[in-house]
Amino acid sequence: MADSSWLTKFPQMDRVDLVEIRKGLDSAYRDFSREYGEVIESVFDPLLMFLVWFEKLLLTTPWWIIIVAVAALVYLVSRSWKLSLGVVVSFLAIGYFGMWEDTMRTLSIITVCTLMAIGLGIPIGIVMARSDKARSVITPMLDIMQTMPAFVYLIPVVMLLGIGKIPGVIAVIIYAIPPVIRLTNLGIRLVDSEVMEAATAYGANPTQRLFGVQLPLAMPTIMAGINQTIMMALSMVVIASMIGVKGLGQPVLKSITNQYFTLGLFNGLAIVALAIIFDRVSQAYAKRTQRHMQGIENA
């Protein structure tokens, strides 16, 4: 009887063993984080200082200077009056409804996260495009990063670094970086082989091929990746607020626990407004710089 029980019941591991394994791993990791937590934290100190400085800058600058500066930046990048005007109006509305400070905090952390994701993601994407071996290693990692629930990797990060901005940034980057990596890789691999052959045939070295041909031609695809990355970073705001990242996410979190629908809605809308601004501006920039290639894309 006991011998054939595996037929009806999954022959699972002994509970005691399982608990042992969990305990072992947990305590090993805890020891590790006790031992090295501070060292690792100190590695991130410059980043933290920058984050704090940038947030302070946005918070202490008078609101109207920020609005003018952002509108001017948007115009410079997109060359569109309409878009700049839209930005001004949404910022005014956000301020009027009392969400200015939270929005500035979110803006600062999202900007930093996005810049870091791009700065890390594009080189990783390039490596991935250059070597099939690298691709076969990186792709499953990206799959994990995109499907693993954020809460799961928040645990070790918080264990290691505690609660605060840095773990928040790391969590956001882990979540948001895959698109820019994937699309950089894809964009480079899709560059017309004859154009690449031409560059090689005229004696371009690998650096000249990368910066003179591959990256410029992959740019539309990379921009799409950057766009996705920004959107995903913004969507992480609420989860990041659970580990102490201040900003628009915290009121949303509060409204969930206390069932304040309107508070949640307003802050949610502010996040959406930021998202739309980022999206439109980056798209307008991409379009403007890639105009001459459109003939080919349409063909």
Partner: protein, 407 residues
């Protein structure tokens, strides 16, 4: 005396994961299909040997999949051979380090691509100057040269356009200008004109011939179109399934196809446009060189016929007929332009097509006369019919000359 510039010896290319382990099968002489079925490796090229001389246009021809692109990419090592030797100007290209190879590609060869291979994010001018700019030449320098070459190919004024704004023919002119701009001695052209429509294509061929007359580059030109091969090529090599089936001058290939495959290739060619008078004319057998009418009559009898071509110390003069000679009252009279009829000779280098009307209309076979007035041969209606004969060739010729008339 032709001076060899490029030498290829025993070149093999196997596409696949482990070409080295499959090479023994290739050397056993197994067929391409066998090898593919058995090992999953594609035999791209098999035992290619060729020598290309300085200053010639060497055409490589073959059907789709015969390995033309694979072969031309070996010259600048865009593809590495599985086995074999490639020598350019006595440099063993296979022994170059990657730095040396870059220098070699920058200065020795340039390439024109079937789908142009232009960089869509660079202007026409930047595309043309690309080769020089990656050599590290100053912007002023490459701009000046690129502007010059753009002018040469007839695209002055398009400098600031992007490739996408140009027609196919214009884009390929940019491709050609880009190739010429580096002053490389060797020009590789992989089906450079195949993507263009027939009119633009023959225009581009004219332009290439014209440029070549001035520049004397060594050009390796790939095409699957025999007409194009015959028009451009000084020598032609024909590939089939990665093997070289025949190499030779255009006339050689047309008149003595080595295999059925080549014969099938040349069957439909418009010979009238491909062959020169020299290749089909008969040697001159009806030469009259006499000083007097009487001697001329004797010569006329010897050549059996009622006409002959009169040649004196000044060269070919005209046609004399038996009737005209007999009509003279005085036998001892000297030959004079009253006796012979004016009949313009044709040049041995003329294309058959250009002399078809005269040949058909003339009373006598046409005398073939070189620049110095020497009588080189004669071209008769039956000569012409013999070469152009064979239904399809003739129809084709007819069709093409109509098209040409429309131009």
């Amino acid at each position: 005396m032709p001076e060899p510039l490029i030498k290829i010896e025993g070149l093999y290319k196997l596409f696949g994961n482990k070409p080295a382990s499959v090479m023994p099968l290739v050397h056993e002489g197994r067929s391409k299909d066998d090898i593919l079925a058995e090992t999953g490796h594609t035999l791209g090229l098999k035992d290619i040997n060729l020598t290309i001389n300085k200053g010639e246009i060497f055409v490589i021809m073959g059907l789709s999949g015969s390995g033309k692109s694979t072969l031309i990419r070996h010259f600048n090592r865009l593809i590495d051979p599985t086995e074999g030797v490639i020598k350019v100007d006595n440099i063993d290209v296979m022994k170059l380090s990657s730095k040396e190879l870059e220098q070699f590609r920058r200065h020795k060869m340039s390439m024109v691509f079937q789908r142009f291979g232009l960089m869509p994010h660079r202007t026409v001018l930047e595309n043309v100057g690309y080769g020089l700019s990656i050599q590290g030449k100053s912007k002023a320098e490459w701009t000046a040269k690129a502007t010059e070459w753009l002018e040469t190919v007839g695209l002055a004024g398009y400098e600031a356009q992007y490739p996408a704004q140009l027609s196919g023919g214009q884009q390929q002119r940019v491709g050609l200008a880009r190739a010429l701009c580096t002053d490389a001695e060797i020009l590789l052209m992989d089906e450079a004109f195949s993507a263009l429509d027939p009119l633009i294509r023959s225009e581009m061929q004219d332009q290439l011939i014209e440029l070549q007359d001035k520049l004397h580059k060594t050009i390796i030109f790939i095409t699957h179109d025999l007409d194009e091969a015959l028009r451009l090529g000084d020598r032609i090599a024909i590939l089939k399934d990665g093997e070289m089936v025949q190499q030779g001058t255009p006339d050689d290939i047309l008149l003595n196809p080595a295999t059925d495959y080549v014969e099938a290739f040349v069957k439909d060619v418009n010979r009238a446009r491909a062959l020169t008078v020299e290749t089909v004319m008969k040697p001159p057998s009806r030469r009259i060189t006499a000083d007097t009418i009487a001697e001329a009559l004797v010569q006329m009898k010897a050549i059996k016929g009622d006409y002959g071509y009169y040649v004196n110390a000044d060269g070919y003069q005209g046609v004399v007929t038996q009737d005209a000679l007999e009509a003279c009252s005085d036998d001892s009279q000297k030959m004079s332009n009253k006796v012979w009829e004016d009949m313009p000779g044709i040049s041995p280098d003329a294309m058959l097509e250009s002399v078809i009307p005269e040949t058909l209309e003339g009373k006598y076979p046409l005398p073939v006369v070189d620049e110095d007035g020497n009588l080189k041969g004669e071209l008769s209606r039956s000569n012409l019919a013999g070469v152009l004969g064979g239904g399809s060739a003739e129809n084709d010729a007819g069709k093409k000359s109509v098209i040409e008339a429309k131009q």
